[in-house]
């Protein structure tokens, strides 16, 4: 059985990244935006692993672990900020969070 070529993985990762990016741009709920950002990070993870496999070294996989740790920290901070803003403002709709503008 022939192995799946690296370019397929990279293509998939590009598609996932784009879906995440579009999600960030069109969604209005910070939690959903946040999930889309996580999707982008995981798309990057896929391409790290694919490249690592292509070159045959561990660096790609190591990076994924670091990215996962950072993504987890990001979740903690993001949820914290969203909870805090919900407590003061009683809404998390991006369109209603608009005190600061030019």
């Amino acid at each position: 059985m022939p192995a799946v070529p690296t370019s397929y993985y990279l293509g998939l990762s590009g598609v996932l990244f784009t879906i995440g990016m579009i999600g960030v741009l069109i969604k209005r709920n910070p939690i959903v935006i946040f999930m889309c950002i996580e999707l982008m990070l995981n798309a990057v993870n896929l391409s790290f692993i694919a490249s690592g496999r292509h070159f045959g070294h561990m660096a790609g996989q190591m990076m994924v672990i670091f990215v996962m740790a950072i993504a987890a920290a990001e979740v903690a901070i993001g949820l914290g900020i969203i909870v805090a803003i919900f407590r003061t403002k009683e809404t998390i709709n991006i369109d209603e969070i608009n005190l600061l503008k030019y």
């Binding site: 672990i65 996962m68 740790a69 987890a72 903690a76 949820l79 909870v83």
Partner: protein, 117 residues
């Protein structure tokens, strides 16, 4: 065939652990059944009804703390793989790493994030 012995042992110990724990709990705990306790357990919320109800904000705090220790495991695996190569250095390093997470836990505890009001 020989190589399956650890597997069988592992399975047996796994099952035994569950039964022993449940059995021990059965003898140790006081028995005071009430309707709330008889319900299916679903991490706190009412198990039947609309899934779109609002969760208590406290769950987020616990989720945040969980995330910290959840990822710790991801680092433990490569550490276990490279452990033989580095010896004492690796042990000390992991102790420091876990201690740093411990600092986070102590902080959460002292700031009363663990209390369920």
């Amino acid at each position: 065939m020989q190589s399956y012995v650890p597997f069988v042992m592992f399975t047996a110990i796994g099952f035994a652990f569950i039964f022993v724990t449940l059995l021990m709990a059965r003898f140790v705990r006081p028995s005071a059944p009430n309707p709330n306790k008889q319900e299916t357990y679903e991490c706190g919320p009412v198990p039947v009804g609309d899934a779109w109800n609002q969760f208590n904000i406290h769950y987020y705090l616990f989720a945040l703390l969980f995330v910290v220790f959840d990822v710790e495991a991801a680092f433990l695996y490569p550490w276990a793989m490279a452990f033989r190569m580095f010896g004492l250095y690796a042990v000390v390093e992991m102790i420091i790493f876990v201690a740093l997470l411990g600092v986070g836990l102590v902080y959460a505890w002292r700031r009363e994030a663990l209390e369920w009001e």
